[in-house]
Symmetry: C2
DNA sequence: CCGGATCCAATCGGATACTG
DNA sequence: CAGTATCCGATTGGATCCGG
């Protein structure tokens, strides 16, 4: 809260101090079990088998109908896509518009919140993809040791 | 690939074009089911019930013994912590050092790869924490509509 | 102190059949 | 087309007992 704070942090030491505080702060949030909707809840929800894939597909195509999205993902069952989309809708990541037509048409797209989530997920996915060689070789070493 | 590309991108249009390419690129990686170790595998592994918590705890404290880590996390069972740490070790995120003493001492700490993962996880957790109010209110609206 | 082994409950996710 | 309902196998995670 002091006047010349944080305006132009360029050295790594200051950043790592800041990171450490952030880390403990977030750790407490993540450890929290008392609240209704802790961080772990949301992270767990987005990390199930189809959520991330749905979000990325919607982010790529903008707006998709149910069966188009289903084909886009490829191997998801009807039931699981429905469940996944309901969960994402419940948390406000995806919007669902129903058109009163025959045959019925339902369009899904990311909300602003959902786009933010996608950006986060994208960064994680990119990092994992970049580190895949290391991870794969680590797994091979592990089985050799066992 | 042209000479004056990407040196000082300040407008949003150029970034969004880049993002779109990244998005489709990563979407393909995440959709991939053919490879041994796809992105989804790793993301799924780090998103189980205790992995993220373990990583954050180790990142906060540097080095931890088994039971210290167990107490730090709080409500994890002995079995699940063992399983979680083995998985993280297999992927190269956590190192495990055994000291030949009685009573035995085993110390866990993040590898460089694990620290990188923690940074990613931290960003995601921070984002979720920042958006929690929106998410909570969205959930409340959802039950009202149902 | 650090786990391995076993048993069991809860949740997740796929297949199928049916509806507005 | 876009679901709902039901059944069932697979996976996850907790409790407990045991061993080095």
């Amino acid at each position: 809260m002091s006047k010349s704070e944080n305006t132009e942090v360029t050295n790594n030491e200051a950043e790592s101090v800041k990171d450490e505080k952030k880390l403990k702060f977030i750790l407490d949030k993540v450890k929290d079990h008392s609240e209704i909707c802790p961080v772990r809840d949301v992270i767990h929800r987005i990390s199930d088998k189809w959520s991330l894939l749905s979000i990325l597909a919607l982010g790529t195509h903008g707006t998709l109908r149910f069966n188009t999205l289903k084909r886009e993902i490829g191997d998801v069952s009807q039931r699981m896509l429905t469940v996944t989309l309901r969960n994402l809708e419940e948390d406000g990541f995806v919007s669902r518009k129903i058109y009163a037509e025959v045959p019925p048409r339902v369009e899904y797209q990311l909300t602003d919140l959902g786009e933010g989530l996608m950006q986060q997920a994208l960064q994680l996915a990119e990092w994992v993809n970049a580190k895949l060689p290391q991870i794969v070789s680590s797994r091979k070493e592990f089985v050799k040791k066992a």
